[in-house]
Structures are given as structure tokens and as C-alpha cells.
């Protein structure tokens, strides 16, 4: 996968798909934070929110790796988890899309 070349157009498509997924996933985290914060009434709930954010930050840092050598795997994961759909990948070379979809099924 390290050998995949990305054209200028593909880079733009990749950047857009990547950012769409990031915004979408962070949007869900914001919803969850708002819900947890609203219900919080005792100190333990502060630390539960902190634990939740620790986990999410590690997960997001790990997942959103915009190196071209990693993008096929990254998009496969995002597709599998529903943060992007096939349409977001339109504009990438067919063999890349095929690889992404295959890996997303694993």
C-alpha cells in the first residue's frame, strides 16, 4: 500500500472524505459530551467524562492518520465504521476503491 500514488485530484478527494469523517465523528462526541455534562451532578461523573475523553482522544489520534501510505487502511476503517460512505470515495482510482471496500469487509 505504501507504493500507491495519489494524483492531485485524488488528494483533494481524500482530504475532503477525511475531513467529513472527522467532523462527523467529532460531532457525535460533542453530542455525547453534552449529554454527559447535562446529567452530571456528582464528582464521579466528572471523572467518567474525563475517562471517556481520554479514550476518544487516543482513538481519534490513532484513527485519523493522513499519511498517503496509511490512507487506504484509514478509509477502510472509516467506511466500516460508517463515518464515510462509498460516495465520499468517488474520484479515487478504481483499484484504490476496491482495496478500501475489501478491507472494510474484513
Amino acid at each position: 500500500m505504501n507504493g500507491d500514488k495519489w494524483s492531485k485530484q485524488e488528494k483533494a478527494v481524500a482530504r475532503r472524505a477525511f475531513e467529513t469523517a472527522y467532523e462527523k465523528e467529532c460531532g457525535e462526541i460533542i453530542n455525547k459530551i453534552q449529554e454527559m455534562a447535562k446529567k452530571a451532578s456528582d464528582p464521579d461523573e466528572i471523572w467518567q467524562l474525563h475517562d471517556f475523553l481520554n479514550t476518544k482522544r487516543r482513538e481519534i489520534d490513532d484513527k485519523y492518520d493522513f499519511r498517503y501510505s496509511m490512507l487506504i487502511l484509514v478509509f477502510a476503517r472509516l467506511l466500516k465504521e460508517g463515518w464515510i460512505d462509498a460516495q465520499d470515495l468517488e474520484g479515487l482510482r478504481e483499484d484504490k476503491i476496491t482495496k478500501i471496500k475489501e478491507l472494510a469487509r474484513v
Copy 2:
């Protein structure tokens, strides 16, 4: 300060003052979290909230140390920061209260 003895009654007063402060300070953290969460609309604000909670958790863990050898210092800090007031210390031996107040002024 390590040599201070705490009677059963003093231990009860100390525990109550300690918990009052903890609940009060955590209550303020909850207010702040709710305010930050409510305003959050983009991913950076998630990580700002996370950074805030990292700092607060370290601060709270460091501050709320209920070892009798540490309590004079702990109460001096809580008094200085306004999480307890002189009334919360009533029932402790006079020399302890004096020490706490002196240290709180430093």
C-alpha cells in the same frame, strides 16, 4: 506537623470539612464543564475540554490528600482558596486552627 494527633471528634470534623470542600470545588468544575459542553461546536473545543479536565484532575488528586499528616497543609490551602471557611474548622484543637490560618495567609 506529622506529630499532630487527631481525636475521634476532630477526625469527624476534618472529614466533613474535607468533603464539603471537595463537593464545592467539584460543583464548580461541573458548572464549567456544562458551560464548555453547551458552547462546543467544533472538534477543537472537545480537546480544550479534555485539556481542562486533565488539569483539573491532576489538581484535585494533588490537593485532596486525606492523610492526617497532610491535613493541616490541605486545610490551609482549601481555606486560602475559599473552598472552606473558618466555621468548617470548628471542633478542631485551637493550635491546629491557628496553624491552618497562619499557613493560609502565606
